[in-house]
């Protein structure tokens, strides 16, 4: 974990994860879809560091989410949902590599180089583009990053500060409220407005890249 990319405390996000898991187990498949949308990028990036094959990455990611869905009733909530999903993804990828007669040890070591298991989702190494990504995908990612960064720069100071404290520093609404000396409702509103402003800039690009998304 690098010093300039601090770990995002996930206890807040985990609250909603746990609630979505609970709803899924209760039979609400849409709740699981929200979890898939949330973690799809990270899981594919994670697998992409083990498997140098674009098509295989997607297949393993599919299998990961299916396995997680089947085992969801056994998820105790003692660990974070992403940590639990992470292990399933790694095991699924290793099994796929063994089935393909490839050496999973080599692939996992390559994946683990410099990355601890607990550094999960905000690890800069995990966030690095994997060699399994096509040049088009690399270019798309860079374009999205540029637009988001430009949109951040254009935000009013209080909106930029609020979303920075939340998304990069990982502060809770209460902590942001204290830091910015404003009510929690204002924090929620500022973060939402910041996201909306950035979203308006990035949506056209997303639709250009993959058509109408939903």
């Amino acid at each position: 974990m690098s010093a300039d990319l601090p770990l995002l405390p996930l206890e807040k996000a985990t609250d909603s994860d746990a609630m979505l898991v609970e709803r899924t187990v209760a039979g609400d498949q849409k709740a699981y879809e929200l979890l898939v949308i949330k973690y799809q990028r990270r899981i594919q990036r994670l697998i992409g560091r083990m498997v140098r094959d674009v098509d295989l990455v997607e297949d393993i990611a599919q299998e990961t989410f299916i396995r997680a869905y089947r085992a969801l009733a056994q998820f105790r909530g003692e660990a974070q949902f992403y940590t639990w999903l992470y292990r399933i993804a790694v095991n699924t990828a290793k099994k796929a590599l063994m089935d393909l007669k490839r050496d999973p040890t080599v692939s996992e070591n390559a994946f683990k180089s410099g990355q601890s298991e607990e550094s999960d989702e905000t690890s800069p190494l995990e966030n690095e583009l994997t060699s399994s990504e096509t040049p088009d995908a690399v270019l798309a990612s860079k374009e999205i990053a540029e637009i988001i960064n430009a949109a951040m720069e254009a935000l009013p100071e209080e909106l930029r500060q609020a979303i920075t404290l939340r998304e990069i520093e990982g502060l809770s609404y209460e902590e942001i409220s204290e830091a910015m000396d404003c009510p929690i409702g204002t924090v929620r509103s500022r973060i939402f407005r910041a996201r909306e402003a950035i979203s308006q800039k990035v949506k056209p690009l997303l639709e250009n890249q993959s058509g109408k998304r939903w």
Binding site: G27, R41, I66, A73, R76, N127
Partner: protein, 216 residues
């Protein structure tokens, strides 16, 4: 923030995108959480907001940006999930008497990351119990004289009390144990008493008498 407190913060009149933003931060509970789920079921824009907001977060935390979610991936996954049984109805590896348990009890049948730690705690507990039992066993043995081994006890002789002798002494006749008398007789050369009434065996006597012839 505790989701249960979120009702104090979140207004029920929030628009869908605002609900999804708060849900992304784990700030929804109760009716607001249900409203967000309802929106995600019936409003595609809710899913789009959910994805975009997480994309923004991923991109801000990454040095290399992030890609938009792949709708084809989700579509394919949903087709597979439709063929799956609900997680609650899926067969589980262990089937204890679930019907005897209250429905509200959490499921504890999976493999926990800290199971190994609990096993060691169990072993340590048994070891402690064994040590305490051993100490208690020994202590109980010491506290009951009847059970204690008679290692230094002299053989009791019912006749010894009757083997007494009467010895004449300057203070008059003294009744003594016959065995003591035998012991004193056997060690007579070491016995005797001094003028200080101390056993002479422990004293060094020195005489200062000079031969009478020498004095003359």
């Amino acid at each position: 923030m505790n989701p249960t407190n979120s009702k104090n913060i979140m207004k029920p009149s929030m628009q869908t995108s605002e609900l999804m933003s708060a849900l992304a931060d784990g700030q929804l509970g109760g009716e607001d959480f249900a409203a967000a789920l309802h929106a995600s079921r019936h409003d595609d824009s809710a899913l789009a907001c959910w994805d975009t907001y997480h994309l923004i977060g991923d991109a801000l935390r990454s040095a290399h940006g992030a890609r938009g979610a792949n709708p084809a991936f989700l579509s394919r996954l949903n087709q597979r999930l439709a063929q799956e049984a609900s997680p609650a109805a899926a067969p589980r590896p262990v089937q204890p008497a679930v019907q005897d348990l209250p429905a509200a009890l959490p499921d504890h049948r999976g493999q926990a990351a800290n199971d190994g730690e609990f096993r060691w705690k169990l072993v340590a507990g048994f070891a402690s119990l064994a040590a305490v039992s051993a100490i208690a066993w020994n202590a109980a043995g010491l506290l009951t004289p009847a059970a204690a081994p008679q290692l230094a006890q002299a053989p009791s002789s019912p006749t010894s009390a009757q083997q007494v002798v009467v010895v004449a002494s300057p203070q008059g006749p003294v009744v003594r144990d016959a065995r003591l008398e035998e012991l004193l007789a056997a060690h007579k050369q070491l016995g005797g008493t001094s003028a200080l009434q101390e056993p002479s065996g422990f004293l060094r006597n020195a005489t200062f008498e000079t031969p009478r012839n020498a004095a003359r």
